[in-house]
Each structure stands twice: as C-alpha cells, then as structure tokens.
C-alpha cells in the first residue's frame, strides 16, 4: 500500500514533466483515455440504459451517494443522468450529447455489447474517462471495465447445490431470459460442475425474466410433472423466491436452492429455514464506477479490467444481511456493505 501510494503521488507530481518530455514510464502512465488536461471539480455523466427496474434504481442511489461524497471532497461538481429507456440507439445519442457538452467522465451500463463502441472511441479520444460496468461493451477504448464474473457465479452455485444434495439427485435449473449474456454466462459457468457429477440429473430448465411471478408459474407447472425433486439450481434471486413460493403453495417440502441477494428471497430463506447459498451483482458497482472515474481523472493508473469478487451469503452471515433489510426496498436487493477503503483495495488488488 505505501509503495503504491508513493507511486501514485510520484506520478501526480511528475505527470506534467513526463508529458513535456513526451515519454512516460509504464508504472507512471496515466489510465487509458486520460490526457491530464481536465481539472477538478469534474462533471460525471451517468448513461443509464433503463432506469425502471428496482436494481437500477438502487444502483443509481449508490452513484448519487458516491457523487455527494466526492462533491464534499471538491472533486465533482455535477452529475448528469440520462435514461435511454432500453433503446441502444438513444443511449448512443445521449452519450454523444455528453461528449458535446464536454463532461469529464462517462459511466455506463451498455444497452448493447457492440453498438456503443464507436461513440465511446470518440469520447475516449476527447480525453473523457469512461468506466463501463455491469453490462459491458466489446471495445478497449474505455478507461476501465468493472464487473463480477458471471461464469464464476454459475460455477459456485452449481458446486454448492451438488454438495448440498450429496453429489446425486434430481434437480431443476432456473435461468434468466434466453439470449441475454448474463443469463447465458451464468448457465455456462455451471456446466463443468454438472458434467463432473453424472449422478446429478437435470429434470428440466426454465427461461423466465428475472421476476418472481413468471418463475413461480414456471416452477409450479414443473412440480406437477415431477414428484421427486432434490434441489433447485436457481441462477437469479427473484427466480429463487418464485421457486420457494411455488413449493410452499403446493405444500411440497423445501429443497436446497441457490439464489441471489433479493430481499424477498433472503426473507423466505430465514422464514422457511432453507438450506441455501446466494451471491450478488452488487449495486455499488455504480458507486465504484464513479469513484474509479475520478481516480483516473486525478491521474491515478487504473486497471483496464476490475474484477469484483462475488460476495457470498450463507447461513453464517445471512442475519447480518437481514439485519439491514429495512434500509432496502421490499422488492430490492440487499447488497454487501461498501466504503472508500474497499474501493481503494479493489483498485490496488488488480
């Protein structure tokens, strides 16, 4: 840590000199897209793809809180928010407007994994710090990308479930919508563990939106068809809540189930005393993106990809999560706690 902060301050001091010399050593190089001509306080643009889902609202909440903190430090003076209402073309136009109005940083969740690439390259060429998180774009013309590992999500979930049912049995797999990269990647991540255990039989798989009602409906019909189910590999929090409710309504015994930090699922977990495991896509990825953008603008070196370790919820810490439940919306996600120390550590660890 001391070594790193030494390097950071050294680079901040030397950056002007290095630019004049026209040569920078690797260790002191500024992050991608950063030219060093932008001065605090900065304007941050938050190019949201869709603001309606609760997960998005909570994510925006963490961004706003982080910006407030950065304002107090005199680093940020304005947050500009756009909402593309799910339309990738509109998101491109809004990012273009952010470039036109000369924001200093753009943080975004992409509406298409390819479409924003060219407009982001334009922004990068103008020295705007770009932090892309959650839903990523296939381009290297950004300052940094931030995400958890969806394949790891699926892998860890599958391993827990196989272990919980004693390495053999009949299971259901609940997926998010088909053709969506997060849902695809989580499912693919589960494959290796399932193949390694031929005694685990997959009775059926579902594809539903990440909502309770459709998942409950899908599981209910599967329960009629399958009298014997040993476990449920659910690859989404609301899906798990739907499955637990379906079992409950049918008067069936609860089985081991995986899930996510959806408040409703965690509350059911406690209430029904489930054998469960959950992880999450932390909402504070948004706050972290805003923080990272400012760090990059301040001349700190920022890794091109920041992999966020998946926080795990199990019986040992579920009470800590539920203890904070009142601070979160009823249909929301109870994310793990975060602070600036964690952000510093995440940036340093890469």
């Amino acid at each position: 840590m001391t070594k790193l902060s030494f390097f950071a301050s050294a680079s901040a001091l030397c950056i002007g000199l290095l630019l004049n010399l026209g040569a920078g050593s690797q260790a002191n190089a500024a992050a991608k897209c950063i030219k060093g001509d932008r001065k605090a306080p900065y304007t941050i643009g938050w190019a949201n793809i869709y603001s309606v889902p609760t997960w998005m609202k909570q994510t925006q909440g963490t961004i706003e809180a982080e910006v407030e903190a950065l304002k107090k430090q005199g680093l940020v003076d304005k947050l500009v928010v756009t909402d593309a209402q799910g339309d990738a073309n509109v998101q491109i136009q809004q990012i273009q407007s952010m470039i036109d109005s000369d924001v200093d940083a753009i943080i975004l969740i992409a509406g298409s994994s390819t479409a924003p690439a060219r407009v982001l390259a334009d922004a990068c060429a103008k020295g705007i710090a770009i932090i892309n998180f959650d839903s990523l774009v296939d381009t290297d013309q950004v300052t940094a990308k931030v995400n958890t590992d969806s394949a790891q999500w699926g892998d860890q979930a599958a391993k827990f479930l196989i272990d919980a049912i004693g390495g053999k049995g009949k299971i259901l797999i609940l997926n998010g919508p088909a053709g969506v990269s997060v849902s695809d990647d989580r499912r693919k991540g589960a494959d290796a563990a399932l193949k390694a255990h031929p005694d685990v039989t997959v009775l059926a798989e579902t594809n539903t939106p990440y909502n309770v009602a459709p998942a409950q409906e899908a599981v209910t019909s599967l329960l009629f068809a399958n009298s014997e189910i040993d476990g449920i590999l659910s690859l989404g929090g609301a899906l798990s809540a739907g499955a637990v409710l379906a079992l409950d309504k049918q008067g069936r015994e609860q089985v081991p189930i995986t899930g996510e930090n959806a408040r409703q699922f965690l509350e059911l977990w406690k209430e029904k005393d489930l054998k469960s495991w959950a992880t999450m896509q932390p909402n504070w990825l948004g706050a972290f993106a805003a923080y990272t953008a400012v760090q990059a603008l301040e001349g700190k070196d920022v890794p091109a990809f920041v992999k966020i370790p998946l926080p795990v919820i199990d019986n040992s810490n579920i009470d800590q999560y539920l203890g904070r439940a009142a601070d979160f919306p009823a249909d929301g996600y109870i994310y793990s706690p975060y602070d600036e120390e964690l952000f510093k550590k995440l940036l340093a660890e890469q």
Binding site: D83, I92, S97, A115, P116
Partner: protein, 321 residues
C-alpha cells in the same frame, strides 16, 4: 410518366397547393424550428461541420423508418415489423460486408432483402386481403427470429472506411437524406406514386378510375422494406457492428413520428414532410432535453406535453375558426 401529373406540378398552382398541404402540420414545423434554434443556442457546436454531422447521423435512421411507416400509412396500411427489418438489415450488413462479397455485395443483399420481404408482405396483405397489422406482427416475429439466426449475439463488423464515410465527421447522412427526399418527389410523379394517395384515400373509387390500386400498395410495401433495411445498414455502419435486436424501438418510434407528422391511420391523409418533421422532433427532443439539464423523469413528462402540443395546436385553431 404521367403527363397530367407533371403538367399540374409545374403549373402555377404548384406552390399554393404545396402550401395548403402544410396547413395541418404548421404547428409541428413551428415547434421543430423552435427546437432547432434552442439546440443551436444550447450547443453552439451544432453549427460546426462535425456537430451537424453527428446530429444528422442520430436523426437519419429514425427519418428513414418514419418514411417507411408513412408510405404504408398513406396507402391505408401499417407495419409492426419496422424494427425487426432494421435489425435484419443491420445483421446482414455486419456479416456480409467484411466477407468475400464485400461492401457492394453486402449492400446489394441488404437492398434485395428489404425489397423482397417488403414485396412479399405487400402481396400477402393485398392479394390475400389480410389485415396489415396482423401480417406485419407475425412478420416481425419471423424477421426478428431470422436476425437472431444470422447473428445470435451482437457481433460482426463493418469496414472502418464505410463507417467513417457514412457516420464520420462529414454530413454524408444529411446528403443521403436529401437525395432520398428528391427520389420520393420523383416517385410521386410516376404512375405508381400518383396512385399512392388515391389508393389510400378511396381505393374503390381509385380502382374504378383505372388506378393500379394493388400495384401501388404492393410497391409501397417493397419501398418501405427497402427503407427499413437501409436504415439497418446505416445503424450497423454507425455502430461498427451488428446487433440482432438493435431495431426494436424503431417500430413504435416510426408510428409516433408519422402520426406526429399528421399522417392519418385511415390512409390518404398527410405528407412525407410532416413525417420527416415528426421524426426530427423526436430526435431533437432527446438532445435538447439533455442540454436543458432535465432529469429523466422530467423528460418523460415534457416529451408527452410537447407531442400533445404539436398535435393539438392546429386542431385548436380549426375549432376556433
């Protein structure tokens, strides 16, 4: 070429007639002008070459789909497959243009697909006398599925030079739009073009007067399809890649632009310049609201109010008269 039509258009009546056709959309034109001025004031960079280029690029695909929808609505039809056609055009361009067929082959494939699917839709609607809304809704699933088959995940590529040419810092998109509007004017002077309004407003009367009603309607579907896949090609060039669901939002936006531009649902009502102004307003609103610093929620409300205002002002005056 119809001599009757061209002599009428070159006659002294041409301009008065054209002005009278603007009556229903004067309010919209005023609102659009106000937005253009506001945009220029808020963002002076609009008046630079690249600023103008970037703005027209974000408007261009919406302008094309607005025209694609308007031409159908003028004949009394409608299409719910506009967005799927745009997606299909985009994925075809992004998969073929960097392959052995090259840009010319890709552009030809995009154009033929658009014309072909459009004509096929037109034949089904016109010859089998099926409701356009049902045929194009079913068509949107088939076409959208085809786009997903060609490119299951976003990907593909467009040659860099083509992206730079169409969506770089030159007003190529605007020049193309002007050319397309001129072509539309030319088309209206052909027998099929002349039949367009008649086929929409009073198909039976037009048929009895010897107007090729079926031909005009099928041609309208084919042209509409071409405009959609062309818009898809442009979106692919603009984004440098193909995305099988990139067009989804264009279906509703094309209808909104056309209706905002005074095109009636019953056929024969409205002008193409109205539809273009409608699409321009929808596109301008996004940028102007951004520069006004509206929050997303305030933007929803303001958008709704502006659209109602633009449609209601001319009606309001009519009532007063």
């Amino acid at each position: 070429m119809s001599t009757v039509g061209s002599s009428r258009q070159t006659g002294a009546l041409y301009w008065p007639v054209q002005l009278r056709r603007n009556v229903g959309v004067r309010g919209l034109f005023a609102v659009v002008m106000a937005f253009v001025v506001a945009y220029g004031v808020l963002f002076p960079g609009l008046l630079t070459g690249s600023g103008f280029a970037k703005f027209t690029q974000s408007w261009f695909p919406l302008a094309l789909v607005a025209m694609a929808q308007a031409i159908l609505m003028l004949t009394g039809g409608i299409s719910l497959a506009i967005g799927a056609m745009v997606s299909l055009g985009a994925v075809i361009a992004a998969t073929i243009m960097t392959g052995p067929l090259g840009v010319a082959g890709g552009a030809a494939a995009v154009a033929l697909t658009g014309l072909g699917i459009g004509a096929a839709t037109g034949l089904i609607v016109v010859k089998l006398r099926l409701p356009a809304i049902v045929v194009t809704l079913a068509g949107s699933f088939i076409i959208g599925g085809a786009a997903l088959l060609i490119l299951p995940r976003p990907g593909g590529a467009i040659p860099e030079w083509l992206s730079d040419l169409l969506a770089g810092n030159t007003p190529a998109a605007f020049v193309l739009l002007v050319l397309i509007v001129l072509l539309w004017k030319l088309y209206l002077a052909t027998p099929l073009g002349l039949s367009l309004y008649a086929a929409g407003e009073n198909p039976v009367g037009a048929y009895r007067s010897g107007v090729p009603v079926d031909g005009a309607r099928i041609a309208a579907y084919a042209i509409s399809g071409l405009l959609c896949t062309g818009a898809g090609l442009f979106v692919a060039a603009q984004t440098g890649s193909g995305d099988p669901v990139i067009g989804t939002a264009f279906t509703l936006n094309s209808i909104a632009a056309a209706v905002l531009g005074g095109i009636g649902f019953l056929g024969g009502q409205g002008t193409m310049r109205g539809a273009l102004a409608g699409s321009l307003l929808l596109s301008l609103m996004i940028s102007v609201m951004f520069f006004l610093g509206f929050t997303p929620v305030a933007q929803y409300v303001a958008q709704g109010l502006i659209i109602i205002g633009a449609v209601a002002i001319p009606q309001f005056r009519k009532v007063q008269q």
